[in-house]
Symmetry: C2
């Protein structure tokens, strides 16, 4: 009995014969750069950016670099976006290589003093996650003589419905509860820091267009209410992101044009205290997830008790999420293809397993694919976000995958 796999990204779904990424066939890429290999196509990111710009003409676009922070990739994506959002001192240092500090903001719980100091002294925006962190940042500002640029990350009192990861409306390690945020802003302003505004992130990996629209409207209302409480207009409101991409059978994409239209209306009707504020949407997965393909060569084919296994030279050490072991409860199949048989009908039911000596390393479970032989290349799609850096690369001592920009 076979199981379905998720939909291929639009750029690949219509292809026939050889899988082509950025003008070259998957087999070509592997011939030149070896296997396993991540190929990232910046043209796909540019296409997503164009969709965003058309939908949100008055909103800044930030890239959450945690989705794929590979330095050459970051250099390729940075010019396409207005800001970079980072989550550690390491990411901050990398972002500063490709973007002025004025376009960088740093969020994340548990920032060490050294990280706070790096953000403050480089003049990046620091999203404070607790009253305690705000006070540590102010103290570092005093000590270093540099005025901190502080935004307040808010743990909203509503959540993004239908999101894969809920991050609001409940107790949270992220942000300051909405109930206290106004007071923290007043404390920051009174201490003489530069207050940059609010960062309000209600969830991620949401595919429900209506839920995103409702959440953005609620976020805008919350920002206005908090600004009133703080007695000061926020220079910038980061509305969060949370646009998902379809991974699994039945998933459908977010209707971004529709979200943009609703947000334009909401912005047109916004409270007067937000009249001069800028707005940003922060995206990672939606921006780059579909641009990457993980290519891995077949090492062995074997039959065992009626099941056919395609054993590849890659595995969960490069693409943990595709194995169903990272933040998912039920294992489902990522979109997958035999790279030189894009039009061929499925001919057999196979499981694609990685080379790791653990039953967890299953990249596709009983999917129907065209026949694949030893040496053929298997493509696992949606490898552009939370791929290599979100995987245990040292596990079992195999070589790390290559990465290349198409």
């Amino acid at each position: 009995m076979s199981k379905p796999f998720g939909p291929l990204p639009p750029e690949f779904a219509g292809q026939s014969g050889d899988l082509v990424i950025g003008g070259r066939s998957a087999n070509d890429w592997v011939s030149e750069y070896g296997s396993p290999l991540f190929v990232y196509d910046p043209a796909i990111v540019a296409a997503r950016v164009a969709v965003f710009r058309a939908a949100f003409p008055a909103v800044d676009l930030h890239y959450a670099i945690k989705a794929n922070p590979w330095a050459p990739w970051l250099a390729a994506v940075a010019p396409l976006v207005d800001g970079l959002d980072v989550a550690s001192g390491g990411e901050l240092a990398n972002a500063l290589q490709v973007k002025p500090a004025a376009g960088i903001s740093f969020a994340g719980p548990g920032k060490r003093d050294a990280e706070l100091e790096a953000a403050i002294t480089t003049c990046a925006t620091l999203n404070v996650e607790s009253a305690g962190e705000a006070r540590r940042a102010l103290a570092i500002g005093d000590r270093t003589g540099v005025t901190p640029r502080l935004a307040v990350r808010v743990n909203p009192d509503m959540e993004l419905k239908g999101s894969g990861m809920k991050m609001g409306g409940r107790p949270s390690p992220f942000g300051i509860d909405a109930e206290q945020a106004g007071a923290v802003v007043r404390e920051i302003v009174a201490a003489g820091a530069e207050w940059r505004g609010f960062h309000i992130f209600a969830g991620s990996q949401a595919l429900d267009t209506t839920a995103i629209i409702d959440t953005q409207a609620a976020t805008l209302a919350l920002a206005a209410r908090l600004a009133d409480e703080a007695g000061k207009a926020p220079p910038l409101v980061n509305l969060g992101g949370g646009f998902g991409i379809p991974y699994f059978p039945g998933d459908t994409p977010v209707d971004v044009a529709c979200v943009g239209e609703a947000l334009s209306e909401a912005l047109a009707a916004r409270a007067s205290i937000l009249a001069d504020s800028r707005f940003a949407i922060e995206l990672g997965r939606w921006l780059v997830g579909e641009s990457g393909v993980y290519l891995t060569q077949v090492v062995d084919r074997k039959e065992s008790r009626g099941e056919t296994f395609i054993v590849v030279d890659g595995g969960l050490h490069h693409q943990l999420a595709a194995s169903g072991n990272f933040g998912t409860v039920v294992r489902r199949n990522y979109p997958v293809a035999v790279a030189h048989k894009m039009t061929a009908d499925g001919a057999e039911t196979v499981s694609v397993v990685g080379c790791l000596c653990t039953p967890l390393d299953r990249l596709a479970d009983r999917v129907v694919l065209p026949h694949a032989d030893v040496g053929d290349v298997i493509a696992i799609f949606l490898a552009g976000a939370y791929g290599l850096t979100a995987s245990p690369t040292a596990f079992l001592g195999h070589p790390i995958a290559g990465q290349v920009i198409a």
Copy 2:
């Protein structure tokens, strides 16, 4: 409402005041080597080895290095065991630094030709996982003029009941179905390779003593049957491993003495074709899992809507399994302590979260612990196996954890 956490390993459960690892307090370790830090105590491994030797006087002890392959650690553990089991060319190279090839065996699906050749030319034992792999190995033997030392990994026709990961009795990427194993042995012998025996691994992380006893007996019977079919006595039978350790509330340790007694009886009554065979048990987690403690310092304390969060400078990028995101369906709490308050009664219900900007990064969920302040050290136990190398260390760009041998 609080949730329980798992039992502390016996060496730590009885401690009072400061947590002491290898004669030094956890705070001392962190003062000298920084935070986050893995501390591994070889005395705990030596104690487990002593238990093993007493229980299995006639059985070789192999270490599955995937559990913790850190080179200095491997050098410390290698002298305590009879063999090292590796799962990649990378692990093979590391094992050869500390053990002669005669004591090394290499198992794992999807071995590339270069890995087969490395095993053959260094004279390590190669556990072949499919008929196709056996043929590739024989061809490499012909080409290089080195006689391959081949064992046959068997996908048994029974499984280890109650094991965390079932690996037998069903279609599997691991090993050759028992039904075909005899034929492959004959093929190997006919081709002039040195046949080393069987590797039969029915599951791992089992805590059910009776199930382990039954599985070992069944494995022994299967080895005898396959040897009869092959018409040749196996020099070595690797009986697998699968001894688990208690991670979660209610878990109890394997009664290893009892398993040893039963295996001694089974060996005494074994079929005559196995009369001159050696036997090995391959252990990773059971041998080293309890020897490691992950220490991480508190960066922030925050209250959010009635929940208290202890935010630490470590997280799932170092200890993925403790966050419940690696091979577990239901998230449960690993054993945890405030490192300098081992005797103190729990004073508050807290969640210990890592520094990663993702809701997945929760190391302990609503546990009752003594009060911990910023700067205090939190200890997460059972960090000796499948810790740092089984975690996405590059995720979000934080520094990698230190490691030290006590």
